[in-house]
């Protein structure tokens, strides 16, 4: 069994009782609704006959019980509706609050080569939207109970008229549900292909923007995209038309059922017929949510499949225990604390790709001349990446990524803070952070302070310096810094390497940091 199925099954099981209670409440709402209108109709008809007959008949007509029952049903329907909706949503929300972090954890543990190849938009769409669909599917589970409750109540109440009426009611309702299920199940994802084409069309066009501007080609490209938009519109409208079939079908089958009941019961007591017709009407209405959920079933299934793919990504293979080495074009370099290696090569020649492969962020065979015996292990390295990424979070959140959970547990908060400030000082970012109103707790990234390119670079450097891995990997660490700051940063780096005894791998087109290295690897 797949990891996803096992986990999702477990989550669902822990909320099963709540979901069942929600379904029972849903059935109760339908039963109350059916009974309420049926009883009201019967009461009216009975009252009309008794009132017309007058005298003793009227005295015998028990009006207290039905009128009290009507009020009780109205209140029961209200309370049950509340519990049905609350319990169903509570279970679904709490279940899904566990699913999202689990999926994220699977992603971080999965083989990075696969996990990172999932485009970002794709993975986040699965985590957010598809999981949201699963939530809808869980809530929709009570729709069956709602329809079933309506059916059972209608059938039982129809028995007051005659068994035949009950049978007609069953046949009518099951014809509706059956037809909707087997004949008119819409293919969801209608328009997905067209939407994909339109998207592709636009993204293919965007690189041509300068050409479009220079040669006034906008009209030509718009004319190319317009038919795709029209095709999408046609597909979606067609889909909507198909989704509308069950609602129309409900009314038609309901009409046939009602007429059949009347035609076979012209000689029956009128109040019972009134009861039967009204309960049948409401029972048909109770199938509404179920029919709507049926049109979405394929959507739910597709979402589950996509989420399952994410949960079932292959886990990273355990790493071998041999001494770590870098093998490039037959040259074997030991990856240890004595390493002081500079990687050189022409721009766009694959220097960054080489260190990404070392860290395990891309397959070894992605890099030409890199030997298969190379150790790819993130634990060996403390990385300062070229693109200087910053997490949305506080300055502290960003820096503490460089400290392992065990270290955080073993270090007193004061020592930890001192270490963080020391790293910031080495990276020449201390005055900037100290000047921030909330210091290390200042929010950076979306919704917070925006750091300049150079500041982001230095923050990344500080993060790498905090990490106690054997080898520091610096990819263009001083890019975007002015020469003064650069000189200070390089001296601080030298001091840091001497204190910690860490090894170094450096990529730098600037000359100042190069003196930190004694060896050179030229990539082709």
């Amino acid at each position: 069994m797949s990891a996803f199925k096992a986990f999702f099954g477990g989550v669902k099981a822990s909320f099963r009782t709540t979901l069942i209670v929600a379904s029972v409440c849903a059935a109760g709402v339908s039963i109350a609704a059916v009974t309420l209108l049926g009883l009201s109709g019967w009461f009216l008809a009975g009252a009309a006959i008794a009132g017309a007959a007058g005298g003793a008949v009227m005295q015998a007509f028990n009006y207290l019980l039905p009128s009290a029952a009507i009020r009780a049903l109205a209140i029961a329907r209200t309370a049950l509706r509340y519990f049905e909706r609350y319990l169903g949503h509570a279970a679904a929300l709490r279940a899904l609050a566990d699913l999202r972090p689990w999926l994220f954890e699977r992603l971080t543990r999965a083989d990075p080569k696969i996990a990172l190849s999932l485009s970002r938009g794709e993975a986040s769409a699965r985590l957010v939207q598809d999981v949201g669909q699963l939530e809808g599917a869980l809530v929709a589970q009570s729709n069956w109970a709602s329809a079933l409750g309506g059916l059972v109540a209608a059938v039982l109440l129809n028995l007051f008229l005659s068994p035949l009426a009950a049978v007609i009611c069953i046949v009518g309702l099951s014809t509706l549900v059956g037809l909707a299920h087997y004949r008119f199940r819409p293919q969801t994802g209608a328009g997905q292909a067209e939407l994909g084409q339109l998207k592709q069309g636009l993204f293919d066009t965007l690189p041509f923007l300068p050409d479009i501007a220079a040669y006034n080609l906008k009209g030509r490209f718009l004319d190319g995209l317009r038919p795709q938009e029209t095709a999408l519109k046609a597909a979606r409208v067609q889909q909507a038309r198909r989704e509308g079939v069950p609602a129309a079908l409900t009314l038609l089958i309901m009409a046939a059922t009602l007429i059949l009941i009347v035609a076979t019961h012209v000689q029956s007591p009128m109040p019972m017929l009134a009861l039967s017709l009204l309960v049948t009407t409401v029972a048909f209405e109770c199938t509404g949510p179920l029919l709507r959920a049926m049109t979405q079933q394929t959507l739910f299934d597709e979402a589950e499949t996509r989420v399952a793919e994410l949960g079932d990504l292959r886990e990273a293979a355990p790493l071998p225990d041999a001494d770590p080495v870098l093998v490039y074009d037959g040259q074997v370099i030991a990856l240890d604390r004595t390493l002081r290696l500079r990687i050189d090569g022409r721009s766009g020649g694959g220097k960054t790709r080489l260190i990404e492969a070392l860290i395990g962020l891309r397959p070894i065979d992605d890099v030409p001349y890199l030997g298969a015996a190379t150790t790819a292990d993130a634990r060996l390295f403390a990385l300062c990446p070229q693109d200087a990424p910053v997490l949305n979070g506080t300055v502290g959140d960003n820096l503490l990524m460089g400290v392992t959970t065990e270290e955080i547990a073993d270090t007193s908060p004061n020592d930890l803070t001192a270490r963080v400030w020391a790293a910031l000082e080495a990276a020449q970012l201390k005055p900037r952070v100290a000047a921030m109103k909330d210091g290390l707790h200042t929010w950076i990234g979306d919704g917070g302070i925006t750091l300049s390119g150079g500041e982001r670079k230095r923050l990344n450097l500080a993060r790498a310096l905090l990490r106690t891995a054997p080898i520091l990997v610096l990819d263009e660490p001083t890019e975007g810094l002015d020469p003064m700051t650069e000189t200070v940063v390089v001296s601080a780096l030298e001091a840091h390497l001497n204190t910690t005894g860490q090894g170094l791998i450096l990529i730098s087109h600037r000359t100042a940091p190069r003196r930190l290295c004694s060896n050179l690897l030229h990539v082709r």
Partner: protein
């Protein structure tokens, strides 16, 4: 982890209110292309209510006939027509609302694409801004197809149903009206209370989405620092927080739907009890003659009872579509930002006569806060070739794009002074009529080779086309293809051929300024050499600026500028 407090003072509240109003106004504005459909849907809603009334009358007549042991021909006929017509109407209105929603989305999207293709608001590295564009615009479908029709219907049809009931039994109609009024007041009050709460929840949800997107984006970093576990902890914390917040909002929303259910049930119960006791003649008070049943008491009472649930039907539809409105509002906010960023200022065309001198005086560019390149100064003399060299990401392409025009709203701006000939360039200047552009992506459109070349200069004579074909070494291709059109993907063309077409196209336009963005990237050595030869044999008399990685190409330029 603490997020910056959303400023909780009054200005923030006012700003949020203004934003909500702006979003509402925008949603209304976008709906204009589907005006006719909207009216039609409203007519269909009214027709559906009339059908429901027909059904109710049919049911009452049927029972009345059965009471007197007659076969209810008319009653059954009314039931059949009422329900049959209603089925038809529901199908048609489903179709009309869907096509109205799609018409709106189509118009909105094509309008935005039109803006985007103007090119000013968007440049290569900022293209990712367009990624959520489709999700956001699709999110409007539920709003226009379901929420809006339900809202329009719920402000009209309940009263219409009550009016119909009033025809047969004014007293029952009064009962329905009296249950509807407190309901509407209660909903409005609780709606105001939940609105604030649900905005907070929406914020939390947005933050969770942003957290996911951010952590997924930085998965390489998280992997490199082996921080999977601690980041999962953060995500778990945020996810639980959101689910509990959502639940507290839903608790309120569900009490709203319970209230709805209560009034729907109570209106049926009150009508039934009133009619029943009235038929029995047991009412503890006298009903004024004006309010009493207008027709046969039983028939009138039954019609009132059957129509009572119809009063609340559109309100129920509305509450089911509630979250679609929220989604659409969030999407609209994002689309409005995009609209603003893509907005093109009114342009002043600039015509150049003769190859201009181009002067960059301490020009730097930034996108939002990020510097793209530091100040650079150089002068390209009229009619000479300047090569820009630099690492990828050093801003060569952006520098060329500055000459195509920028838009301040897009976030891309430049400092310093660019002078073309005598003119100082401002963001509203439009040089496009006087410049030709060639990049590593040459668009090929459906059409023959000469059609494709003429895209830059539709009035070019056959002789001029033949001349650039010869100049750029496209003779073999022209012979092989003849009049066979290319498709819009340019299938069957080699990379080298595509570039030659791009060069020929740029040269065909009699533009005095020629900008080339990495014209030889990804070409093999032979193709690169051939293209460089063709290029330098053809650019005489034009001012040329080339952004490139190629030292070979730079070596032949009159001037090399390093970024």
């Amino acid at each position: 982890m603490s997020h910056p407090d959303p400023a909780s003072n009054e200005t923030a509240t006012d700003a949020a209110k203004a934003l909500r109003q702006a979003v509402g106004a925008r949603l209304k504005l976008w709906a204009i292309p589907a005006k006719r459909q909207v009216k039609l849907v409203l007519c269909l809603e009214i027709a559906a209510v009339l059908c429901a009334a027909g059904f109710a009358v049919g049911l009452a007549l049927t029972l009345n006939d059965v009471r007197s042991r007659a076969f209810p021909v008319w009653g059954l006929l009314l039931i059949a027509t009422g329900l049959g017509l209603r089925a038809g109407i529901s199908h048609i209105s489903q179709f009309v609302t869907a096509s109205a929603a799609r018409t709106i989305i189509e118009a909105l999207r094509l309008g935005l694409i039109d803006e985007a293709l103007s090119g000013r608001g968007l440049s290569g590295s900022q293209m990712h801004r367009m990624t959520p564009f489709f999700e956001h615009s699709e999110a409007l479908e539920g709003y226009y197809a379901r929420f809006l029709p339900a809202r329009r219907a719920s402000s009209l049809t309940p009263l219409l149903v009550i009016l119909i009931v009033a025809v047969v039994s004014p007293a029952a109609a009064l009962i329905l009206l009296f249950t509807l009024c407190p309901f509407v007041t209660l909903m409005a009050l609780s709606g105001m209370a939940t609105a604030a709460e649900s905005r907070k929840q929406l914020d939390a949800l947005t933050r969770l989405s942003a957290l996911f997107a951010d952590r997924l984006k930085h998965l390489p970093l998280i992997t490199a620092f082996a921080q999977g576990e601690s980041q999962t902890k953060k995500v778990r914390f945020a996810a639980r927080d959101v689910s509990e917040r959502t639940l507290s909002v839903l608790r309120m929303a569900f009490s709203g739907s319970a209230v709805l259910e209560f009034f729907a049930a109570i209106s049926v119960a009150l009508v039934a009890v009133y009619c029943g006791f009235s038929l029995l003649g047991l009412l503890p008070f006298a009903v004024p003659a004006a309010l009493d049943f207008r027709y046969d008491p039983f028939v009138s009472a039954f019609i009132a009872l059957t129509l009572a649930p119809e009063v609340y039907a559109p309100l129920r539809r509305l509450s089911a579509a509630y979250h679609e409105e929220q989604q659409a509002r969030a999407a609209t906010e994002a689309l409005m930002q995009m609209e603003a960023a893509l907005e093109t200022p009114a342009l002043t065309p600039v015509m150049l006569d003769g190859a201009p001198e181009v002067q960059f005086d301490a020009v730097s560019a930034a996108f939002d806060q990020d510097t793209i390149f530091a100040p650079v100064s150089f002068t390209t003399p009229a009619g000479s070739v300047t090569a820009l060299l630099g690492e990828s990401g050093s801003g060569k392409s952006t520098l060329l794009r500055l000459l195509l025009g920028t838009s301040p709203a897009s976030g891309l701006r430049h400092d310093g002074r660019i002078t073309i000939g005598e003119q100082v360039l401002t963001p509203t200047h439009d040089l496009s009529s006087s410049l030709a552009w060639m990049s590593q992506h040459t668009p090929i459109l459906t059409g023959t080779l000469s059609d494709n070349l003429r895209l830059s200069h539709p009035k070019a004579t056959d002789a001029e086309v033949a001349a650039v074909i010869d100049l750029c070494g496209l003779n073999d291709l022209a012979t092989a293809r003849g009049e066979t059109p290319f498709n819009d993907r340019g299938s069957g063309l080699s990379g080298g051929e595509r570039r030659r077409i791009g060069l020929a196209r740029a040269l065909l336009k009699p533009a005095p300024l020629l900008l080339l963005d990495e014209p030889t990237a990804d070409l093999d050595e032979a193709a690169e050499d051939a293209l460089i030869d063709a290029l330098f044999s053809a650019v005489a008399g034009r001012t040329v600026i080339i952004a490139t990685h190629s030292e070979k190409l730079a070596a032949r330029a009159a001037q090399v500028v390093r970024l």
